[in-house]
Each structure stands twice: as C-alpha cells, then as structure tokens.
C-alpha cells in the first residue's frame, strides 16, 4: 500500500481547490466540478481515517465511499439537468443574477 500521508496531503489540497472553485467560479458546471473534487477529497479522508485491516483498507468505509460515489453522480446528473433547464428559461448559466423575491406569479 502507498504512503497514505501523501494522499491525505492531496486530499487537503484538493479540498482547498474545490472550495476556491466553488467561491470563484461563475459557471454552474464549474461549481459542479468543484463540488465533485471536494467530494473526492473527502472520500480519500474517509478511507484513510480508518485503520487498515490485514494490510488492506477497512472494507466498511470503502463501501460507504462506493455509496457516496453513486449518490454524487446522481446529484450531479440532476444538477446538470437543472442547469440546462435554467439556461433554457433564463439564458443564464450562473446564479449571480438577483431579484429572487420578485416575480408576480411566484
């Protein structure tokens, strides 16, 4: 098995990059990249936070991460559909526009 410390380091960097992207990026798809990258960082930490058994990572966190990956892709798929529809309705692919409380037909 690899030196896990290095991967924890990677996770920290990736999480920071994801946070930066989430704040800075305008385009919704980039925000989704950012969230997925943060998710990967957290998945790494979940596996490394548990002590390995028999030289391999603990199977329980691995199973949790597997579930997490499927949930992440489901949420991403829905977010993409939402983004496409939002663009079709408003011509925008970012959330920067305001006046959310306006609108007559609520």
């Amino acid at each position: 098995m690899a030196d896990l410390g290095l991967y924890v380091f990677a996770a920290a960097l990736l999480f920071g990059i994801g946070v930066y992207g989430l704040i800075v990026a305008r385009h919704l798809m980039r925000k989704l990249f950012a969230i997925n990258i943060m998710g990967n960082a957290i998945f790494i930490l979940m596996v490394t936070a548990a002590r390995p058994l028999d030289g391999a990572p603990d199977p329980v966190p691995q199973a949790l991460v597997l579930t997490g990956i499927v949930i992440a892709v489901s949420a991403t798929a829905f977010a993409l559909a939402l983004m496409v529809r939002l663009h079709r309705e408003t011509g925008q692919v970012s959330l920067s526009a305001d006046n959310e409380s306006g609108g007559d037909d609520g």
């Binding site: 996770a11 920290a12 800075v24 199977p59 329980v60």
Partner: protein, 313 residues
C-alpha cells in the same frame, strides 16, 4: 523510492488537473480535465489499495459523470450559450484565504485521523469474520448487500429520484429538447459497435458475477452497461422517446422494487427486515440493480423519457 515517486506524480497530476478543471479558460477543456482527474483518481484508489473504488471511480465518477457533463455542455451550446467558454471568474478577495484555510483544516483533520492510534474498526473486523459464512468473497459487496442493505436500497432510490426529478424538468416547457441531430451512418462506427456492444455486455456480466467473490459488483457492471447504452444513443441506433415503454419502465424500477420486495419477504416468516434469503436473492438483486443503474444513467444521458430501437439498427 520508486513507489514514492509514483505516488508523488499521481498527487501532482491530481492537483494540477483539479486546478485546470476549475480555472482553465474553456469550459470544454474543463470537462476533459475533470474526466482525466477522475481517471487519475482511479489510479490513486488503486495505490491506496481499494480496487473496488478504483473501478467505481473510473466507471461512474469519471466515465459517466464526464459523459453527462459533455452532453449537458452540448445542450448548452445548442441553446446558444456563447459566453460559457470564457465565463469570467467572480472577484472575491476572501476566496483565497477561505480556500487555504479550509484546505489546512482538512489537512490537519486528515493527518490527525491518520496518525491517531485507533483500534482497527470493529465493524470492519466483523465483516471479515462473518463474511465466509455467507459464501461471499468480496467484503464490500457483503457490506453493501448483507450487512448494510438499507444504505444500498436507498442509494438506488436516490438514483431513481434524480432521474425522476430530471425528467420532470425536461417534461415541462417547450419542445426544443425533442429536436435531435441526425446521425449519418458511418462505416467505422458501425464496425466498432458490432465489436464493442457484445463485449461490453460480456464485461458487465463478468463484473457482476465477479462482484460476489472479487472486485466488481452491480454498480460497476451497471456503469459499463450504461456506457454501452450511451454508445447506442450516440450512434443513433437507439433513439429517444418522450414516454417510456413498458420494458424501459421495468428496467428503471427493477432494482428498487426487487430489493424492497425481497427485503420485505423475511417479515412473512418472522425474520428481520432486509434479511436476504440466500445466494439466489443476492444474484437477483444485483442483476436488477445493474439493469436499473444502466437504465437510469442512459436515460439521464439521453435526456429522454424512454428509448426505442431505431429502424435502421
């Protein structure tokens, strides 16, 4: 020494790909970088010693997420999104401090957890201990289906919900979504399909079967199957329809409903909810889940309510 170099290179690639995906100039390149990031992530999982995760990440995290992103990008372009390639970044002076701070926090937490002198996870030990009783070789499949089945059941429900919610979005509003591009029949694509499709199905079934004793499982197999479906959609062999035919509906629901019905069965003879009655039920549920995952992902990709075979195919 070489191992360290290898890990270092993987980490370096991960970080630079992440930076590129987020801050690169063009969105299209961002998607490519994100996909390659996912592939590199799979290498990282392999190095960490988690081949199941490597496979899931490659198939679902990189492959299908990437395909979904590309098709969404294509729809944006078709809808006339012309500022996306150069979307300017928001200016925020706080962004860098917050990012550095949260990265540091996560690093400290991660190192703290790595270095903490914990006993090995008791749940994990129980898995390794009791798994042979069930005749399963893959601990992760065991956790997903035998020991923590509810998580898996609800996870399929999450996928179904995402599909239903996305369909609801496409179903309202105008009909521009139904306009499709023509697919000219090209000889190379036809030849490729003739080889690839049977192979994919073979690989999917192999992965599914392998899931009980070694790396693999319903999710990975479903992703491979979905990839085959995506290929058929892209090449125009299968075309989208607005409503699902009975077969497609069955496919979408097979996983969740089979899991629920089999999970409720033990209540009839006084056992605990979701106790799986035998190996046959594991195979049945896994197959149904594979079909559902594939169906849901293909429909999400095609932005379609249903699918039908094109006459040419």
């Amino acid at each position: 020494m070489m191992a360290l170099l290898l890990d270092g290179l993987i980490v370096l690639a991960l970080v630079s790909l992440a930076v590129q995906a987020i801050s690169g100039r063009s969105l299209f390149r961002g998607i490519i970088h994100f996909v390659v990031f996912g592939l590199t992530m799979a290498l990282a999982w392999a190095r960490i010693g988690a081949p199941d995760l490597a496979m899931a990440e490659a198939a679902i995290g990189a492959g299908l997420t990437g395909a979904l992103m590309m098709v969404a990008y294509r729809r944006l372009v078709a809808q006339g999104d012309n500022h996306s390639p150069r979307a300017p970044a928001q200016k925020s002076r706080l962004a860098i401090p917050i990012a550095v701070g949260s990265g540091l926090l996560v690093g400290v937490i991660g190192l703290g957890a790595l270095l903490a002198d914990n006993p090995p996870g008791e749940a994990g030990l129980i898995v390794l201990e009791t798994l042979p009783e069930y005749g399963l070789g893959n601990a992760i499949t065991g956790v997903l289906l035998l020991f923590r089945g509810l998580d898996t059941l609800l996870e399929i429900a999450v996928l179904l919900t995402a599909l239903l919610a996305a369909r609801a979005l496409a179903g309202t509003g105008d009909s521009s979504a139904t306009a499709r591009t023509q697919h000219p029949e090209t000889p190379l694509v036809g030849a490729l399909l003739a080889v690839v499709i049977p192979l994919t199905i073979l690989v999917a079934v192999h992965l599914l079967r392998a899931g009980t004793h070694e790396t693999g499982g319903a999710f990975q197999a479903g992703a491979v199957l979905a990839a085959a479906g995506v290929l058929l959609v892209l090449s125009g062999r299968v075309s989208r329809t607005d409503t699902a035919g009975p077969l497609v509906r069955l496919g979408i629901l097979a996983g969740l409903s089979a899991f629920i019905l089999i999970g409720l069965m033990p209540l009839l003879y006084g056992e605990a909810l979701l106790t799986l009655p035998g190996m046959w039920s594991i195979y049945l549920i896994e197959t149904a889940m594979m079909v559902s995952i594939a169906a849901a992902l293909i429909l999400l990709f095609a932005d379609a309510g249903g699918l039908k075979r094109d006459r040419r195919g």
